[in-house]
Amino acid sequence: MRATLIDRVRTNRRVKTIVASAIPVTWVVVLLLLPYALLLIQSFWRLRNGTLTHEPTTENYRRLFGTSLYPATILYSAGVALRVTIISLVLAFPVAYVLAFKVRKHKTLLYMAVIIPLWVSYVVRAYAWKIILGQQGILNGLLMSMGIIRAPLTVLLYSTAAVVLALTHIYTPFTLMPIYAVLDAIPPALKEASQDLYANRWRTFIHVILPLSLPGVVAGCTFAFVLSMGDFLAPQLLGGNDSALMVSNLVWSLFGVAYNWPLGAAVSVVMLALTLALLWVAGKVEARGTYGGEARTSVTDYAAPV
């Protein structure tokens, strides 16, 4: 009898399941859970005279919440992210609406046109704003040639506004995609039914389209908020002195400049906790948007590892 291992795998259902799920499970554990676990552990080590010691301590967290710098940075980042989210939503919703309901021909083509910026490297897009907003930039050149200003403006670049602008540009497609997906899935008959029942276009939008699009809106806003809150490249390139106030830049400098890994890890852990809490709330909000059961689409369907 040579019942080989392969034969046993082939016949045993349970073994089969284990083998089949081994790769994704390994993937998640090694690339996701393990780094987070290490980060968590790191945040409880003590830094003594610039040297990492493996003594457990809550000192990092006490320092984090004890000074105003870290909470203020988180609040400031949240403020930037909130602005990006609101502007993205205001830009993305009408475009998604028109794409889903008004465009008949070349729908896919137009959708691609909106999505294409995602194929361009993030760094390139952030740099593009440097070229547009810089002192010798395109915008200054244009304004000067039109005679609106005499000398190049220096306030355009290296400001919070520039960061918000670039982040909005980068993350608006992420807001648009889920909104478009839910709007496109609304059967045209629902709109007709609403109009048949004496609701004009505006009331049809308020009572039918908007509530049904909520899951997509929540998902899109969560994307914009979470991604821009954790962004550090755009602030680095465009934020100037303000950039030091974004939380990711703070983490970056704690790890890369100050060599205070435990404190950097603690800030990261707090950010992670905040993000997960936000996703949880977003999921709850979506579930409330639909009557009697689960949401059709959920933010957790989209949520990428943060």
Binding site: E192, S194, D196, L197, Y291, G292, G293
Partner: protein, 360 residues
Amino acid sequence: MAIVELHGLTKRFGAFTALDGISLAVERGEFLTVLGASGSGKTTTLRLIAGFDLATEGRILIDGADVAALPPFKRPVNTVFQQYALFPHMSVRDNVGYGLRMQRVPHREIGPRVAEALDMVQLGPFAERAPRQLSGGQQQRVALARAIVNRPRVLLLDEPLGALDLKLRRAMQLELKELQSKLGITFIYVTHDQEEALTMSDRVALMRGGRIEQLGPPRELYDRPRSRYVADFIGETNLLSVEAGRDPGVVVANRAAGGFPLRVGVRPEGVPAGVPLWLSVRPESLEVVSASAPENGAGENRLPAIVRDIVYAGSVVKLHLVLTDGTILVAHRAPSDPPFEIGAGVEVRWPSSQGVLVAD
């Protein structure tokens, strides 16, 4: 006065003419069925009356007022949609109350009216459910309640029973008909199911290629079809290729089958001899006897045939017969009738009054 009048209604989608100048008057309280195959223009007609599409040409009058330019939310009609189109984010109660809320009916009136409408479709206990928690038949009733709660002057129904299984469909047909006579609302009912049309309607408009092929009570369409298409579409029938005979009376010759004469009840008026026609005889009108059976009487048509197939269909046995020219006839017999063997030589007989002549 008619409640809905269509005058020369035409709808073109680009180069395609979906509706080709139809005119129709629907009486108050009538159950009118618009029957037709897919692409015949029946749904287009309904969508134009509801206002979801705008007519290319023609007028639509509801209660004497031209509504052709009005958006759907300003027309005094309501629609029951094919896939029900219930709002998934609202309870059954809120779905049914939607039209009343949009009309800004006072709140204290909405509650009782919604409850009444739900009782009418026997869904009172399901008011707080979500539409997706209901069965297809229940969803269909919600769609119905959502429309009738508004007390529309005209109710438009777009294949409302299409998604239900046969048994439920039959039950709902009767229920709908009952509801209609109780409420006295005019129903304009679109379907491709000829049996449904015959069962429920006061009148049927059979559509073909964007035009009305024939309009009349179900009985009239069945007994006196105006064309070969109508005869073929409504119920089952046998169509024999014939031509008008020289005898101006009642005799018609079967061309392909060697020209033996057939008697028909109604003489084709003003049709010269030699004009090709179709003779429609319903399967239940055909009598099948053995070839040696004695003649029954005058006024009967008799054709020799061979039994090709026997199909048992419960209440009837369907006999497929081949005539000498190869034409196949279907005759219905009772299961209790003496059986025939496949391949047996028989004679098909029918009273001349049962044959209807139709143009191609």
